[in-house]
């Protein structure tokens, strides 16, 4: 039941981010705890294995590129294909696929949080006098083990390989699929319900054992 609660939390986050540009959907992986081998205590014959519970061992993020939506805004960028924009934050270089950028007071291209976006030479990119930025000037980095860090940012180690091309005037859609989330939510809730039924059945069995066994009438 605890594992299903976590799955529910993750589905709620997907739904909440159904409109977040560049958001990537997640799945939880569940795995059973170590199994116990049961044996008959009198004869020693093995009865079979019994699982003790289920645990959540991780969340997988689906990094598949999502369809790109036209916005017509000069400072919106989308990566067509794999890769991430590099951003210089207070905690070091972070990456993002949400290309809704803006210009700051010094004319530098920044994210909605105000962190400068890095160009090909790993330096911040300046917005031209016409208010535009050449999409080819932006650095697109492939990551070996991307991991979400919140606020549209991702951490990871840069890797070699061919990254996607940048398109201006467009944003990547959210990877959250409300239909899938709804189905998962129902399935998860029912599994939770089943867990509750198991607890109640065990409770009844124990109740029987406590009240009926040894009763003379």
């Amino acid at each position: 039941m605890l594992a299903e609660q976590l799955r529910q939390d993750q589905i709620a986050n997907d739904l909440a981010n159904a409109s977040t540009a560049g958001y990537k959907a997640e799945r939880t992986i569940q795995r059973s705890f170590g199994e116990l081998l049961l044996t008959n205590s009198v004869t020693g014959a093995t009865i079979g294995s019994q699982s003790t519970a289920v645990q959540v061992t991780g969340t997988v993020t689906d990094w598949t590129p999502q369809p790109v939506k036209e916005t017509g805004e000069p400072l919106d960028f989308a990566i067509v294909g794999e890769g991430f924009f590099a951003v210089r934050t207070g905690d070091g270089v972070r990456y993002t696929r949400n290309g809704a950028f803006a210009a700051d007071a010094n004319g530098v291209l920044v994210t909605s949080a105000g962190d400068p976006v890095l160009g090909r030479n790993n330096q911040p990119v300046r917005v031209g006098a016409d208010g535009k930025v050449d999409p080819r000037a932006l650095n697109v980095v492939l990551l070996a083990n991307p991991e979400k860090a919140g606020n549209n940012l991702v951490t990871g180690t840069p890797a070699a390989g061919a990254a996607g091309a940048v398109r201006s005037g467009a944003l990547e859609g959210s990877g959250a699929d409300p239909t899938q989330s709804m189905v998962d939510m129902i399935a998860s809730m029912r599994a939770y319900e089943a867990g509750q039924k198991v607890i109640r059945t065990i409770d009844e069995t124990l109740g029987k054992a406590a009240s009926s066994v040894g009763s003379l009438t």
């Binding site: 039941m1 605890l2 594992a3 299903e4 609660q5 976590l6 529910q8 939390d9 993750q10 589905i11 709620a12 986050n13 997907d14 739904l15 909440a16 981010n17 159904a18 409109s19 977040t20 540009a21 958001y23 997640e26 992986i29 289920v54 645990q55 959540v56 061992t57 991780g58 969340t59 916005t71 017509g72 805004e73 400072l75 949400n98 809704a100 803006a102 210009a103 700051d104 004319g107 909605s112 917005v127 006098a129 208010g131 991991e147 979400k148 860090a149 919140g150 606020n151 549209n152 409300p178 989330s181 709804m182 939510m185 129902i186 809730m189 939770y192 319900e193 509750q196 607890i199 109640r200």
Partner: protein, 246 residues
């Protein structure tokens, strides 16, 4: 226990802000020179494991929030009015005006009037900069405004309306009454490119696209609804958990 309740609530709140922005766009569908608002979204912090029956690799998001991304300064459609003092800006740029409180501001609302002292003003009292005085007794229909902003009455030049532009209009701050003031993020007002011209006898309509605003509204409303289902499910699950003990 079920952080998803709060996660979903954060998502709903973000969609609500999007709806507010769309409502404002729709309310201004007939405002001359209005530019529609842009709302973006961002995910929130991720919690790494730290809960019963999880390993440290599992991470759980905590919702979404709405971000204001300024406005879309796409050209609005031109509407013929035939009035000689109406000017529409075609291309990037703004008219420079001085507001009643003395602040310099920019506007794309070219529904100009002549005030008591003969100056060209916007309907909300902003004086067009540089000040252009129309001599007493001039018939409004005798005024011509050229594509470059030159104002003349009966062929006699009176002055030139300045058309200015900023580096990134998204950074402009709304001052109300269809006017914007420059900020550090928008950059200073400089002369607009020569491709920007004025059209006399027309006004620029709002760039709120009804069909698009409606689509966005439905999208935001449905996402709101879907996210509320997550709250409902979390609630049902709590009820199931309560059912463990009869």
């Amino acid at each position: 226990m079920l952080e998803g309740l709060r996660t979903a609530a954060a998502g709903m709140q973000a969609q609500q802000q999007k709806l507010d922005a769309v409502a404002n766009d729709l309310a201004n569908a007939n405002t001359n020179g209005y530019k529609r608002l842009r709302v973006g979204f961002s995910d929130l912090l991720y919690e790494q494991g730290g809960r019963p029956t999880t390993t440290a690799e599992a991470q759980f998001g905590t919702g979404a929030r709405a971000l204001s991304l300024g406005r879309t300064f796409q050209q609005g459609a031109l509407r013929e009015t035939g009035r000689t003092l109406d000017v529409a800006i075609q291309g990037e740029g703004f008219l420079r005006v001085r507001l009643a409180d003395g602040r310099q501001a920019l506007t794309r609302d070219g529904n100009l009037q002549i005030d008591g002292s003969g100056r060209l003003v916007t309907p909300y009292g902003g004086v067009v900069e540089p000040t252009i005085r129309v001599p007493e007794g001039t018939n409004e229909s005798d005024i011509t405004i050229g594509r470059d902003g030159t104002v003349s009455a009966n062929g006699r030049p009176l002055g030139r309306i300045a058309i200015v532009n900023v580096r990134s209009p998204q950074g402009l701050e709304s001052a109300g009454d269809n006017a914007y003031v420059t900020t550090g993020r928008s950059g200073n007002a400089v002369a607009a490119p020569a491709t920007t011209v004025l059209t006399q006898g027309a006004l620029e309509a709002s760039n709120t696209d009804m069909a698009q605003a409606m689509t966005e509204m439905i999208e935001a409303q449905r996402t709101y609804q879907l996210t509320s289902k997550a709250i409902q499910t979390a609630d049902t699950m709590m009820e199931i958990a309560n059912g463990v003990k009869r």
